[in-house]
Symmetry: C2
Subunit: 245 residues, 2 copies
DNA sequence: CTCTGTGAAGTCATTCACAGCG
DNA sequence: CGCTGTGAATGACTTCACAGAG
């Protein structure tokens, strides 16, 4: 274990590993090797070991990893053991959908406030969770009073930077941005973009490009098309060995 | 220009460039150099030139690129000149929000069908666009009849692979997946994942990691924190030159 | 003998730096 | 001159391959 900088690619994968472990745990599996994990979920075993090794020595040589132990470690590393309080700015269609989004709960996030500029919406409650809608001019106050950890930007692109500035001033250190605009964050503030426009246009390119297929997947993308890359050769070899006595 | 494989990282950036050009065009700017584009939008000028050069020689040496020309080229390259027909599978909160999502229209996509398994919803129309909800068992028929190009998966994780299989069988070649599950696509089918769980947990890591900041941004992420990297030194130098006569 | 943890090798992406066109 | 287009250099991330623990 070396305490160097951790790439976001790594944290993304930790999240994936945790999800895989949850599946295994639900199936009653108690121990797993990096290879079997890789084979089952189409990952690369060396990558798994390297990623985990950055945070400690969680495995047992000759055996593998304890599913339950590793789950706890990853939960702690990702900070999912602590509940987070989320504010969604923009109480439109998307903001409303997010206020009720179950995925938040599963990761120990709770949406506790909505913000909007529309006088019609301010003061009401939205969604099944009955989340209160505040005046967007009160972001500073509410963020402090409600001890908000995470901001979600679900406003039109032109308003996004202003909202981010207000969130940052109020001390929010982590923001999920749905606006199709490249935001400028001050150091120490993490902004994660979910840009559907880019995703759609990338799909469009795929449809447009003659005879398709002339697109390579970058490393960071967790899509599992058929094909080599990752532990498949090894898996095949192992299979073969078993069959030939 | 060489007709090699194009990385998804490149197509993502083309999307960004197009967005930047739209801003410039709206401001009445008719010509732009890669450097000025880079300076204004915090990109790297060499990257811009390299990305564009993969598709042709669109610039004029000594001058730069025509904003209007380049817009048209990028629109064509990304396939945004052709209208796409979208089906959203899963008419829950998210599916409903997507059916009305304006970002689709802006990229020449139109949501023309929703699917669900809930008998309550089937046969009704949802959202302001009054999109019809079909029985999910009819995906094959409706995709053909409505000439669907793009599928959107907005169902629970456990149902996602089955939906993808149906979409693929019906001939859909591009899919946007919101389910937090790694899907397995056959070759030639492009699946783009929007995994909010991973995004959230990555933010959580940032909050949890002691004194934060020990996270590096991977290449693919278009976030613009303060700092070096990209053309900033050059920009500074140019500025300086202007000031000292 | 199996499996982890890790240096070394390999692959892919970005940035530099400059020849040469306009 | 300024700017594009591009090989060459650098940097980032992944995969290989193996020493050594259990």
């Amino acid at each position: 274990m070396k305490s160097e900088k951790i790439s976001e690619l790594t944290t993304n994968r930790l999240s994936v590993y945790l999800r895989c472990l949850n599946t295994l745990a639900a199936a009653g599996i108690r121990t797993v090797s990096s290879r079997s994990l890789a084979d089952q979920f189409r990952l690369n075993s060396a990558q798994i070991r390297k990623d985990l090794a950055q945070f400690g020595e969680f495995g047992t040589r000759g055996v593998g990893y304890s599913v339950e132990d590793l789950r706890e470690h990853l939960t702690k590393i990702l900070g999912l053991d602590r509940a987070r309080r989320v504010a969604v700015v923009g109480a439109g269609r998307l903001g409303g959908a997010l206020a009720d989004y179950d995925g938040f709960r599963a990761s120990n996030f709770a949406v506790v406030a909505l913000f909007d500029t529309d006088a019609e919406k301010i003061g009401r409650s939205m969604g099944e969770a009955r989340v209160r809608v505040y005046d967007a001019r009160e972001i500073a106050r509410v963020v402090r009073e409600e001890r908000i950890d995470v901001g979600v930007i679900a406003v039109p692109a032109r308003a996004a930077q202003g909202v981010l500035n207000q969130l940052m001033s109020a001390g929010v250190k982590a923001v999920l941005n749905f606006a199709p605009a490249p935001l400028h964050a001050r150091p120490g503030v993490k902004v994660r973009n979910v840009d559907l426009t880019i995703s759609l246009e990338s799909l469009s390119y795929h449809l447009a490009s003659p005879r398709a297929a002339n697109v390579t997947n970058p490393r960071n993308v967790l899509t599992y098309e058929e094909g080599p890359r990752r532990d498949r050769q090894r898996a095949a070899r192992k299979q073969l060995r078993k069959e030939t006595p």
